[in-house]
């Protein structure tokens, strides 16, 4: 009995917490793309560059190295060259533009770009059933990657 109550309370606390986290999160279709990019954080929580570097490398998450060389990760094998090298990318773009490029590069480049939109529901046909309505990265993962890109200065 006591056990049960504890469990229930715990569950309620968890729900409250996650709602709180979601409350300030911008939904993928509510992200505002302006001339300077996306001005406000997607979560209100500062991005963590170290976590962003992991997301950037991971084949299951960003897999950014599939298409971009990144001399800052010289220790990693196999950098692609489908997109430009990201060496010194923070000297070329301010944070709002980096956020826009990662969240949905089609808003910034052209509709034809190969780069996937990592926080966008503008996706291709026949999306795998388990991924329908899901973005590639979470809002916080995007913020983390953007924080990491901000460290790439020459």
């Amino acid at each position: 009995m006591t056990r049960r109550i504890k469990f229930t309370l715990g569950a309620i606390a968890a729900v409250v917490l996650s709602t709180a986290a979601f409350a300030s999160e911008v939904a993928p279709d509510a992200v505002e793309y302006g001339d300077e990019g996306v001005m406000t954080s997607l979560t209100g929580v500062a991005g963590d560059p170290a976590a962003g570097a992991e997301t950037f490398k991971s084949r299951k998450l960003g897999n950014c190295l599939a298409c971009h060389a990144n001399p800052d990760m010289a220790g990693e094998q196999f950098h692609g060259d489908v997109g430009p090298s990201l060496e010194g990318v923070a000297d070329r773009w301010e944070e709002p533009m980096l956020r826009a490029i990662v969240a949905n590069s089609k808003q910034i480049f052209t509709d034809e770009t190969i780069m996937p939109g990592f926080y966008s529901l503008e996706v291709g046909k026949h999306v795998r059933e388990s991924l329908v309505g899901e973005t590639i990265l979470t809002a916080q993962q995007v913020e983390d990657v953007v924080a990491y890109l901000g460290t790439l200065k020459e």
């Binding site: 190295l65 060259d81 489908v82 430009p84 090298s85 010194g88 480049f109 999306v127 059933e129 991924l131």
Partner: protein, 282 residues
């Protein structure tokens, strides 16, 4: 606005200036047991590229060498298995493929270079795998071979190998081949999956680039079934399904109308390349 930014990107790319390690197909020529193989040729009219390239030109020197010599080519074991099947009686009519077609090196020469073909009975294009099933069910009193099972890949490889070195050329004037080609073209340029990529994103726009450890080729089909060093003998529709899965999309069924249309269109994109079956790839 978009234009301006794009110019910025291009500029940035050239400033970064880190030239790709292997931007283009290698310059190399292929002969298999003395037979010249066309791995590069002028594209047919209406093709997005000027030149078509075999996937062989995008592989490492070691992988290329494996294909040069039929004794070294690990795919040849499958071709031998296919030959044994050719001569095996299957089904209630007591017939083997050889009962009707005799010497495959004569009767099957050219088949691999000219399929898919129009099949008036089904009103659709038919490929070698489905033609095998048609013979099994209509002539031999046997069950059709399930996708990728019971020797389907091996027998297909044996049949296509009889056209080694012959240039790929489809007859699009037969039946409704042209409308299946049109449909295949749509499939080729349709972006799929959560990653929102089309065949053309990787094999046309990014051809010659590195996508992580893989050197992107034109995605040509002239070597199928192909021997992949990491997966063994791989059928064409298995490869199509794998590439589509990588866009994080649901995979269409093998031999579905979409994939038959795609096979028709992509085969045309390789017009003039030699049949290389069984090719060797990474």
């Amino acid at each position: 606005m978009k234009r301006l930014l794009l110019a910025g990107v291009v500029l940035a790319a050239s400033i970064a200036g880190s030239g790709p390690v292997w931007a283009d197909p290698v310059e190399d020529t292929l002969e298999i047991d003395g037979m010249p193989i066309v791995t590069q040729t002028a594209a047919p009219e209406g093709h997005p590229f000027d030149e078509v390239y075999s996937g062989w030109l995008f592989r490492s020197a070691e992988t290329r060498d494996l294909e040069r010599d039929t004794f070294e080519n690990p795919g040849m074991i499958a071709v031998e298995d296919g030959e044994a099947m050719w001569n095996t009686v299957m089904g209630s009519e007591g017939k083997s493929c050889a009962s009707c077609h005799e010497d495959a090196s004569v009767s099957m020469k050219g088949v691999g270079a000219h399929y898919p073909k129009w099949d008036a009975d089904s009103g659709k294009p038919i490929n070698v795998e489905l033609q095998i099933n048609k013979c099994l069910t209509e002539q031999m009193g046997a069950e059709p071979l399930p996708f990728n099972k019971n020797g389907q890949r091996e027998l297909t490889a044996y049949i296509k190998h009889q056209s080694l070195g012959m240039p790929v050329e489809l007859d699009l004037t037969e039946g409704d081949m042209q409308s299946w080609w049109d449909r295949g073209k749509d499939v080729y340029y349709t972006r799929t999956g959560q990653l929102n990529l089309a065949c053309a994103s990787c094999h046309e726009t990014a051809m010659g680039k590195m996508i992580r450890a893989d050197h992107l080729s034109q995605g040509q089909v002239n070597g199928f079934p192909t021997y992949r060093l990491k997966n063994g003998l791989t059928s064409l529709h298995q490869r199509f399904r794998g590439c589509i899965r990588d866009t994080r999309a649901e995979q269409p069924k093998a031999f579905s109308d979409d994939l038959m249309a795609l096979e028709t269109y992509v085969t045309w994109r390789g017009t003039g390349l030699s049949v290389e079956t069984p090719s060797v790839r990474q």
